[in-house]
């Protein structure tokens, strides 16, 4: 068999004496898309950080084309043709595409004056070769996230990268952007570029990957060709047990007779929310479907008092409420779990516990002081319930794996015990076991009388959790469906795309 382009052998890594990678081996062929999968905190990102020199392995060796290399920083990684595609942080939003791609390597003349023309021309050439349709003089900040990624990739390739690492690249892309990215990945493959692809989305993996490696609790479980492994086996490897009843819908019973707990009438806000009306009944789970950019997130931002409301009315338990700030919304019994949780939901340098108790500080006071014992108990309870993988509740939230950070934000709002819970993409970035768990928790909450609004782009999940679904298109509610009436994903898909 041909020699792999990259092989990592017996990699181990501990943080504070806790092993997060245990003798993991991984290999990558030329022109291959290799999926790296595993539950939240399994060690995927850590393994890739070792490959890119962000962390150093405690044990183990890395070979590139059979030659042993040592990678101590990102410069070393670049020298070995390895490049990580970050989503946000390595592009300067105020510079143009060309300026970003050639940052620190700008073409200049003998006396150091920048040659903008050459910079633009070179960028144009590069983008043409990659068949991407971006104007080199566009300001990055004005482009969609999908284009940022392509710019990132173009930048990496202009620095001769042969191995690209993508860590959950589609989590903030629309369906269309995802398709464009996948086409692009196929082109890269043909050029002999190898890609390590981390994602929690099964369908994507089977769509574009050649091989798949699965980690669980820091150990490698298997490496298989995607043609020879079934989705069930992959899930079983990830979870370590069978997960049979995932995403199964059961009819729930509640009354839609009385006063709705939340009623929104003709809501408008900004340019994205034009005319939204819906009712949410006590004990109901109302799903919100729609394409990305249809105004779903903006709708909940307005309801929650983050964006100003231009028109329309909001009634909570039949009483009209003027909601001008999140504080007003929380006082009215609402809670919002935002979509962009890292930015909007989490204080990275604070502990798991401090993050969880932030919205309920006023409820855990003993006199004027905080009741730390009670706070610890609440935090511990939710860490256990949501299976948040952390050393203890005092660990800095920023040190947890991406999916576990997501779970902290969930925990935080569940601890607040609101009457009306709004969840915007609750399962982004969490592993399959946690997705199932989150769906169960949502249903349990509804059974206990809470009312829940769920926005999701993942149709199987939306179908598994909702009692009723409204479809939003261009800032308007265009359709309302009872879950009972939807027999397949296609029906919903059709309802969403039929405008």
């Amino acid at each position: 068999m041909e020699q792999p382009l990259l092989s990592m052998e017996g990699i181990s890594k501990s943080f504070n004496g806790i092993k997060v990678l245990d003798s993991v081996s991984f290999s990558l062929r030329k022109g291959e898309v290799h999926a790296l999968m595993g539950g939240n905190g399994a060690g995927k990102s850590t393994l890739m950080k070792i490959l890119t020199g962000v962390y150093q392995a405690d044990e183990g060796e890395i070979f590139i084309e059979g030659k042993k290399v040592s990678i101590n920083d990102t410069e070393d990684a670049k020298r070995n043709y390895i490049s990580m595609i970050f989503q946000e942080f390595s592009l300067v939003p105020t510079l143009t595409v060309a300026q970003n791609i050639f940052l620190t390597r700008e073409p200049k003349n003998a006396i150091g004056i920048l040659n903008d023309k050459e910079c633009i021309a070179k960028t144009k050439e590069l983008l043409k070769e990659l068949e991407v349709d971006i104007n080199p003089t566009d300001i990055i900040g004005n482009l969609g996230v999908g284009y940022w990624q392509m710019t990132e990739i173009a930048k990496a390739l202009s620095q001769n990268a042969k191995i690209l690492i993508m860590d959950e690249p589609t989590s903030s892309l629309t369906k269309k952007e995802t398709e464009i990215l996948f086409n692009f990945i196929n082109k890269l493959k043909k050029k002999g570029i190898s890609i390590i692809y981390i994602s929690h989305r099964m369908d994507e993996i089977f769509q574009i990957c050649d091989r798949i490696t699965i980690l669980r609790d820091g150990k490698k479980i298997a490496t298989e060709s995607c043609d020879e492994i079934t989705m069930e086996t992959v899930i079983q490897h990830i979870v370590g047990a069978d997960l049979d009843k995932a995403f199964e819908w059961k009819e729930r019973f509640y009354s839609i007779e009385g006063t709705p707990i939340l009623e929104v009438k003709n809501l408008s806000s900004g340019t994205k929310v034009r005319d939204i009306s819906f009712r949410l009944y006590p004990g109901e789970i109302l799903g919100v479907a729609g394409l990305m950019g249809s105004g779903r997130s903006e709708m909940v931002r307005a309801i929650f008092g983050i964006d100003p409301i231009d028109g329309g009315e909001i009634f909570v338990k039949g009483k009209k409420h003027t909601i001008k700030s999140p504080t007003d919304a929380i006082a009215a019994g609402l809670a919002l779990i935002p979509e962009d949780r890292r930015m909007q939901g989490l204080i990275l340098q604070h502990s798991v516990k401090e993050n969880i108790i932030l919205p309920i500080l006023s409820k855990i006071k003993k006199g004027v002081f905080l009741d730390e014992r009670k706070a610890n108990k609440i935090a511990e309870q939710f860490v256990e319930r949501l299976n948040i993988k952390t050393d203890d509740i005092f660990k800095t939230a920023g040190l947890l794996s991406g999916g576990n950070q997501q779970k902290i934000v969930l925990a935080k709002w569940l601890a607040n015990n609101p009457d009306i819970l709004i969840l915007d993409e609750p399962t982004i970035g969490v592993d399959i076991a946690a997705k199932t768990e989150i769906i169960d928790i949502i249903r349990e909450l509804a059974d206990s009388g809470k009312s829940i609004l769920v926005i999701s782009s993942e149709l199987p999940e939306l179908l598994a959790v909702s009692d009723r679904i409204i479809v939003v298109h261009e800032g308007r509610v265009v359709k309302e469906l009872k879950r009972k009436e939807i027999d397949s994903e296609e029906v919903l898909q059709h309802a969403i795309q039929g405008y």
Partner: protein, 334 residues
């Protein structure tokens, strides 16, 4: 529920039982750099300046007196910096407050009149700062930079740069000159303010929300924290404590004077950062600030005893601050 038989949390439980030895290993000395440095400075001067009487009670109490105002303003500044903001106006406020207090006493308004004038001055300027920052949304750096000039100008203008003597002996005793037993009243004030500040920051919802505001303002807002209100209050607190420090200068010197507190804003900020509070917000410690202030004061004192002149003192002080912060910086890779 399907999740009940998922064995994912086995490793989690294992991790939860960190052995004491491992906990010790996880101890990060960088968090305690200011305490270590402070002890180091004391030991160093005790040895080298033993014969000059560095370690005598009277010298140590002197250090406590000299640093009281910086420590007290530092306690309030810790809150400001914890929210990710800055207050450059505190030095000027002390000057103006010393004068308003002195003028009130001179006008025969009595002890409480003097206190009300001093504290009121700080309070009023703090409120103006807070409103401009939260309502008009001007960055705190600019608001307080402007305010620093305005207030200083006012302080020079109200008495045409003339000092105002204070003959009210109770005021002078309470706010600066007095000793209770052999303990300087300034040390007592420092202790009281430090303890109150520490408790507010670490044990109350307000403190938690202050840190949350600085840690990630957006997330704090989404969590229902009234971040504008928090910011407003920390500036009011900072103004108030600067006013209080102005009274302490006045009581100690038996006069109000526009030169009091000159350059104090920098010493205060240095003490806060040296103590371990993050200049970017989200992480703050009141005790650290006070130790930072004591350390700067101790170095000053030692250098004076050593006979260094002012220019040399400034250089050494600057170097030590940069070194301490550099060592304390987390070099942990992200």
């Amino acid at each position: 529920m399907p999740s009940k038989d998922i064995k994912m949390n086995d490793s989690f439980n294992l991790q939860n039982n960190l052995s004491p030895a491992k906990r010790l290993k996880a101890f990060d000395w960088r968090n305690y750099i200011v305490y270590i440095a402070f002890v180091g400075v004391i030991i160093y001067f005790s040895i080298t300046l033993h014969d000059e009487g560095f370690l005598t009670t009277s010298n140590l109490l002197n250090i406590a007196r000299q640093t009281a105002m910086i420590s007290i303003m530092g306690v309030a500044m810790t809150f400001v910096i914890s929210t990710g903001e800055i207050d450059l106006s505190v030095g000027s406020i002390t000057a103006l407050a010393s004068l308003t207090a002195a003028l009130a006493l001179q006008a025969g308004l009595g002890l409480f009149g003097g206190i009300a004038a001093g504290l009121g001055t700080g309070l009023a300027i703090g409120i103006i700062n807070g409103l401009l920052i939260t309502k008009v949304a001007i960055p705190s750096f600019l608001v307080t930079l402007g305010m620093m000039g305005i207030v200083k100008g006012l302080a020079m203008w109200i008495t045409d740069t003339a000092p105002v003597p204070i003959v009210h002996s109770t005021f002078n005793f309470l706010f600066g000159s007095g000793d209770i037993g052999s303990i300087p009243i300034l040390l007592i004030w420092t202790l009281i303010i430090t303890i109150i500040g520490h408790i507010i920051l670490k044990k109350t919802a307000f403190g938690r929300q202050t840190l949350a505001t600085g840690g990630n303002e957006m997330a704090a807002k989404f969590s229902g924290v009234k971040t504008s209100k928090i910011k407003f209050l920390v500036f009011v607190g900072s103004g108030l404590m600067a006013g209080f420090a102005g009274m302490l200068y006045a009581g100690r010197m038996h006069a109000g004077r526009y030169t009091f507190g000159e350059g104090d804003e920098l010493s205060v900020i240095a003490a806060v950062i040296l103590g371990g509070t993050s200049l970017f917000g989200g992480v703050g410690t009141v005790i650290g600030t006070v130790i930072g202030s004591l350390m700067i004061g101790t170095i000053n004192n030692g250098l004076i005893i050593m006979g260094l002149d002012v220019s040399q003192q400034m250089i050494v002080k600057g170097l030590i601050i940069i070194l301490a912060v550099a060592f304390g910086r987390k070099t942990l890779k992200k």
